[in-house]
Amino acid sequence: MKIENVNFNEDFWRDKTESEFIAHESHHGLSKAKLKEVFGLMHPKVPDPESKPETKSNLSKNKD
């Protein structure tokens, strides 16, 4: 993943923590907020399979 001239190894950082990432890659001159953002992009939240989105029909039922 390339952000502001830095190409991060997503495979390597996949199983690492945010604090490890920030400590390791801070020398590139990116702000802590930007590094947190990058780490977040490399670790997209997986939707919980248990929580089903409400369907249109459910919504109409709820209205009743």
């Binding site: 390339k2 830095v6 190409n7 991060f8 190894n9 390791h24 020398h27």
Partner: protein, 315 residues
């Protein structure tokens, strides 16, 4: 009726219309690999295979090296050896081996690279001016003719002829049976100039602070002032690609590259290794940094480039 055994060893002498024969040589390909039957299923597939093979790493056994277009040709075949009887009979005893010289344009740096093939036994494919590629076959695989090449040039020009930048490539064919009796050809389709010659771009160590290394990208040449820095051409594009690193005996152990950044001020890559693994190395341990393959570079529009690895040392 004459009694004859000829049918066991000779062929009929009919000829197809438009039977192919070698035209004027246009380009020479040094190709030590082979092309499987599936890759010459048709002319378009065959041409694409030649193009793909030209973009392989020089370490790949199927790498195809292309030389610049021929500008001048001269037959240099050895004459047949003849024998005669003193009552007037004369016949060919031994067929001379084919050979020729080809002049191409090449600068001093390319000449040095071409001369690295001198005295090597290689296989060559010939592309003639009719767009036909000539080679031989082993089993069902298409391959080049066995040959030796020798390259000379870059002598001082005399001003009497076209001499400056003219390089002479001498080609000596090793086998008449391959070259004449077992030759095969294919037409090509599309732009034959898509068969490319690559430049060696060396990764060059500049400095490091612990596990963070600054690495330049240079084409090493004869300029006393240093190699050609490719940063302005492709530095940014290359920094977006994946690099790998290896360490240990025979560089068999992987060392993670955690990030690659473009240092535009220094015109270099900032390569960061996994600090935990790097710190575990002993002082003096070697690290081999490997760039993306020519095919990956080509797909990213970094054209005609092979990145040569660099060996780094843990300080």
């Amino acid at each position: 009726m004459a009694y004859s055994l000829c049918g066991k060893s000779v062929a009929n002498t009919g000829e197809l219309a438009c039977d192919k024969s070698r035209g004027v040589l246009k380009k020479l390909f040094i190709f030590n690999g082979s092309i499987a039957a599936a890759d010459y299923a048709d002319e378009a597939t065959f041409t694409q295979k030649l193009i793909a093979n030209s973009k392989l790493s020089k370490n790949d056994s199927n790498k195809l090296f292309t030389l610049n277009e021929a500008q001048d040709l001269a037959d240099a075949s050895e004459a047949n050896k003849e024998g005669s009887l003193n009552l007037g009979f004369k016949t060919v005893l031994l067929e001379g081996k084919p050979g020729y010289t080809m002049k191409i344009f090449a600068g001093g740096d390319l000449l040095k690279r071409l001369r690295s093939f001198n005295n090597q036994t290689v296989r060559i494919l010939e592309l003639d001016a009719n767009g036909i590629v000539w080679g031989t076959k082993s089993g069902t695989s298409f391959r080049g003719f066995l040959a030796k090449i020798f390259v000379t040039g870059n002598k001082i020009a005399t001003g009497q002829n076209v001499e400056e930048g003219v390089v002479t490539v001498s080609v000596s064919i090793l086998s008449t049976s391959e070259y004449f009796d077992n030759n095969y050809w294919s037409e090509t389709v599309g732009n034959i100039d898509d068969i490319r010659a690559l430049n060696d771009v060396s990764l060059v160590y500049k400095s490091n602070a612990s596990n963070v290394f600054k690495i330049g990208l240079q084409i090493i040449g004869s300029d006393l002032m240093g190699g050609y820095n490719i940063w302005d051409d492709y530095g940014s594009a290359i920094s977006a690609l994946t690099f790998t690193a290896f360490t240990g005996a025979d560089f068999a152990s992987s060392l993670a590259v955690t990030s690659v950044a473009a240092d535009t001020a220094l015109e270099a890559l900032t390569v960061t290794f996994d600090s935990t693994a790097y710190n575990a190395l002993s002082s003096g341990d070697k690290i081999k940094l490997v760039g993306p393959t020519p095919a990956v570079l080509d797909a990213a529009d970094v054209l005609d480039t092979e990145i040569i690895p660099v060996i780094l040392t843990k300080s």
